[in-house]
Amino acid sequence: MYAWQGKVLRVDLTRGTFSTEPLRTDWAKTYVGARGLGTKYMYEEVDPTVDPLSPENKMIMLSGPLTATFAPCGGRYEVVTKGPLTGAIAAANSGGAFGPELKFAGYDAIIFEGKAEKPVYLWIKDDKVEIRDAGALWGKNVPETTDALREVTDPDARVACIGPAGEKLSLIASIMNDHHRAAGRSGVGAVMGAKNLKAVVVKGSGAVQVADQKGFYEACLAAREKIKAHPVGGTGLRMYGTNVLTNILNEVGGYPTNNFQTGTFANADAVGGETVADKQLERPRGCYGCVISCGRGTKVTNPKYAGEGEGPEYESAWGFGGDCGVDDIDAVTKANYICNELGLDTISMGSTIACAMELYEKGCFTKEDTGGIDLSFGNAEAMVEITRLTGLVEGFGKELAQGSYRMAEKYGHPELSMSVKKQEIPAYDPRAVQGIGLNYATANCGAAHVRGYTISPEVLGVPVKVDKDDIESKPGLVKTFQDLTATIDSSGACLFTTFGIGADEYAAMMTTATGTTYSTDDIMTCGDRIFTLERLWNLKAGLTKADDTLPPRLLNEALTEGNSKGAVSHLDQMLPAYYELRGWDADGVPTPAKLEELGIQA
């Protein structure tokens, strides 16, 4: 078998047993791998109405066919499960070197079932698999856990683990791998915690083979050169990281500030990528096989927030920065480090703090409730402290650990949660940029920018500039971006490769790697199929058209300042056309004809 390893590891945590089985190659060809293939396994094996934190939910870690190959940025893996934050299908994508190691160990996927009686970790060395006691690790943070596990397994092993947040079932808990990399969203860390699974440790010595060696090498080399030659993929991201976006979004008036109360932040530059490069950047970092190096190896010397690690990415810098009204980059980076150490999703954390700050300023709770923390917008120290408490799920942090929606609902203002399907919205105001709002509303995992990154054409002008305020063009644009993204996520390569290459290059790499012919159209159709299957899962889980929406603030309250002043999201005008383009009926249900076209048996 080429590109795929042809083998799946199934772990029954309840019984403490495991087995290997052949990969369903028919599914792999049509759902590619990682995100798509994981969704297919979930669809076939798990009742979508299951309680996400019950033993009946499964958690699947998968690489893709291009993972651990010469494909540019082929270092990704995916965690697919039912998301406890959202109740929707979760597909949290992460880089680093964990995914490739899993593949070198010989597996395309690990399916976790049930729940261990006591804390355990899984140790995989090629064919040798052990479920080991993790009692001594429970309560330890991510770096402690990672280092301790390397000592008792292999110094070069790759570790994916949860921190205290996941153990204590925070609904915004992440799974961290290689210290700094996060499968961040939808609360996947809580699923691991609910299964009493502290960590997965892998060391592999095997090979990944491709069908057409010469053809694959040439396709990859061409793709690598295109990305390196692109000003964004080749230069911009390495120099400034993703956080160069802070000033861009602020200048166009789409930088959500103070929990989306405005779209512009007076001191945005202080938390932008240029400032990080000046003050904190040690060196750019890359995930496995990366040609872009957007990762930020950083150090904070300010004694108040001293630390060392990676980040912040744009979304994190925004969440702890502008969204909380905080303009101290050292505090922002410190909060990011804390999330990496305790295992929290930075986007949900930042936005949940912002929501708490608005509730606090509106008088929904007081300093007495928060344990003496003054949660006013702009209070950097409070922002860092509440991040720590949330990661430990202690004190008032217990409230935030449930995510912004549940917290805001408890205090009587669910409308102040800036979320879709209860998942916090990332760092682009959908009032200022119309297409991204449609993507947020329809992304199957809940609000996410990386499901259809229309910011690229709408703001940056990559590959071509599209009017950010136009609504006519957006349903088609969003669908195209969502479909291509679904295939790229499923291939095991990084979405950022689209700053340089597109469906044509993926068709060439997938064909030569797997030996199965994928045309450019096939690449897009695979994405459409994956996206539609996710939708079917969500519908069966009980989500409806009513969940394809945005917080009322973004639909009704016009931006009052900045360069997008006066704008609201016109989601209602885009959604029907989007459904139609997708082949879904007026209620957002895929039509039988569409399912037949995609070869999906519902």
Binding site: V244, K465, G562
Partner: protein, 90 residues
């Protein structure tokens, strides 16, 4: 008019923003003046094949010139012009 720079352009110009007093009627005129002032390293990040690079983001009072008249977009003395070299993220 006020001109503001970001990312690499800050290193090249040595400033974050400046008051540009030499009159330019259009965005194209301004960019040519800036290239004349800051030289080939500036040119490299804003021009391609003798034209303004379409990946460069130039905002005049917050509006992207690629959605106005591009090169020909007229300028007034009290405008704020913002220039981002090709950068991105996610």
């Amino acid at each position: 008019m006020k001109v503001r720079y970001f990312a690499l352009l800050r290193d090249i110009t040595g400033c974050k923003e400046e008051e540009w007093t030499r009159p330019a009627d259009t965005v194209g005129g301004l960019i040519h003046d800036l290239v004349a002032r800051y030289g080939s390293s500036f040119e490299r990040w804003v021009m391609k094949d003798g034209k303004i690079w379409d990946l460069v983001m130039i905002l005049v009072n917050g509006r992207d010139v690629r959605q106005m008249s591009g090169f020909e977009t007229p300028l007034k003395p009290d405008d704020t012009i913002v220039i981002f070299p090709p950068v991105g993220g996610g």
